[in-house]
Amino acid sequence: MRASFVFSEVLTGLRRNITMTIAMIITTAISLFLLGGGLLIVRMIDNTQELYQDKVEVSVYLTNDVSATDKTCTADPCKGLRSALESDPAVDAVQFENREQAFERFKRIFEAQPELVKLARPEALPASFRVKLKDPDRPEVITQAYSGRAGIDTIADQNEFLERFFSALNGVRTGVFFVAGIMAIAALLLISNTVQLSAFTRKTEVGIMRLVGATRWYTQLPFLLEAVVTGLVGAIVAIGLLVVGKMAFADDVLRDPIEAGVVSSIGASDIAFVTPILMLIAIVISAITGYVTLRLYVRT
């Protein structure tokens, strides 16, 4: 196989259908960009989940009554609850936080809003047990076992909030994948069309090639490579778009939550992670589309 021959055929083909080539690159790039964006969101969800994994706690809030009277948790029902929680096999660690400590923490969290702190009274905050679980994914064990016991007001599970947050992210991801899929269909049709056009404009050449006994590889490889090359260029453009998108948009919009440690940032390593995936998808899809088109529409 003469590589230089095939290569020059590919370049000629791409140049000859330059408008189609550009359209193909653009649609492929947009489709892969959206796909890559979706993949980055998935990465972000995973990383953020990890971020929360060892922080997730269940807060068991005590009744107003207990909060007011038992500051050290030395009397029942507080004492009994504590020892019950501590001996619970699902529990990793228990920390008691009385009203004053809760108020201190409140002040710390809302440092930036002194007017809010000024309004708050320790009496408004309940004492609580902050329970760390052995399996952070199963907070319902505690919720079910302790709800309604004497001295307990409510049990709050941070997972509920996180689940809502993640399901919002998941929704965005699904939407992005959906649009990426539609764009991919457009890209596919364009690739197929371009291969047909390319084969048509080179009918004489291909005819001669077949006549003098060129193998199928020689007659068809240029067309296949044409599709693959445009696919790859599309993937490179898509990755460029992702980098630009990350720097111009994600880093900026999400700066505060990232710095606060609420969500994980999208790093260069995440983009490095999706790069080979996008490239591979571009190559495989364009090659398959090209091959199928040649089999269906071009006589060998």
Binding site: M1, R2, F5, T204, E205, G207, I208, M209, R210, L211, V212, G213, A214, T215, R216, Y218, T219
Partner: protein, 229 residues
């Protein structure tokens, strides 16, 4: 070299067979005219040899190939042993004369140094030395057909199939092309030429196979085109 055994070919779109029970044998080194009116089956005959078509019935042998039954992937080998020339030359207009000839070798993966050597040789054989860098559009019809013959012959095929090679040329130029085909025939290459050209057939006095409505009408060892046609 070429053997057709009771070959019939019916196209799906036609009720009448394009070829009907045709048996012809052509030996190595022969020069054979295939004549007959349009629609008599000449083109189908040639297409069967190239495995552009498969016969509906019968067997086709070319060199050592059982053409009708061979595997698809071996078809390129068959075609590499057959050179083809057409009425409309079929040159690539964006390539020079030398590039057109070299193309036939490039696409079957011949090494570059071989191509560099044999292309000038074959151009000299067909009388186009010094025109290697011309574009097809700068050449006369006769010269273009010489390029096509050079391309067909450059890989030294066992046989040359020519489908109306003089159809677009004036009588004098046609005569030159026939001399060239004779010269190629003298190198031991079998030549099978489909034609309508009475004067050429009559003047060459070679074997003539005449087809009519898909049947072999006659097969004369030293024939003429025939009277009244």
């Amino acid at each position: 070299m070429i053997r057709l055994e009771q070959v019939s070919k019916v196209y799906k779109t036609s009720t009448r067979p394009a070829l009907e029970n045709v048996s012809v044998e052509i030996d190595k080194g022969e020069f054979v005219f295939l004549i007959g009116p349009s629609g008599s089956g000449k083109s189908t005959f040639l297409r069967l040899l190239l495995r552009e078509e498969v016969p509906s019935k019968g067997r086709v042998y070319v060199a050592n190939f059982d053409v009708a039954r061979m595997a698809r992937r071996r078809v390129p080998r068959l075609r590499q042993s057959i050179g083809c020339v057409f009425q409309d030359f079929r040159l690539l207009q964006n390539k020079t004369v030398a590039e057109n000839v070299a193309f036939a070798l490039e696409v079957i993966g011949k090494p570059r140094h071989t191509i560099k050597k044999v292309v000038p040789e074959v151009l000299e054989l067909v009388g186009l030395e010094g025109k290697a860098e011309r574009m097809p559009s700068e050449l006369s019809g006769g010269e273009q057909q010489r390029v096509a013959i050079a391309r067909a012959f450059v890989n030294r095929p066992l046989m040359l199939l020519a489908d109306e090679p003089t159809g677009n040329l004036d009588p004098d130029t046609s005569q030159d092309i026939m001399l060239l085909l004779e010269r190629i025939n003298r190198t031991g290459t079998t030549v099978l030429m489909a034609t309508h050209d009475h004067s050429i057939v009559d003047s060459m006095r070679r074997r003539v196979v005449e087809l009519d409505l898909g049947r072999v009408l006659r097969d004369d060892a030293r024939g003429v085109y025939g009277v009244g046609r």
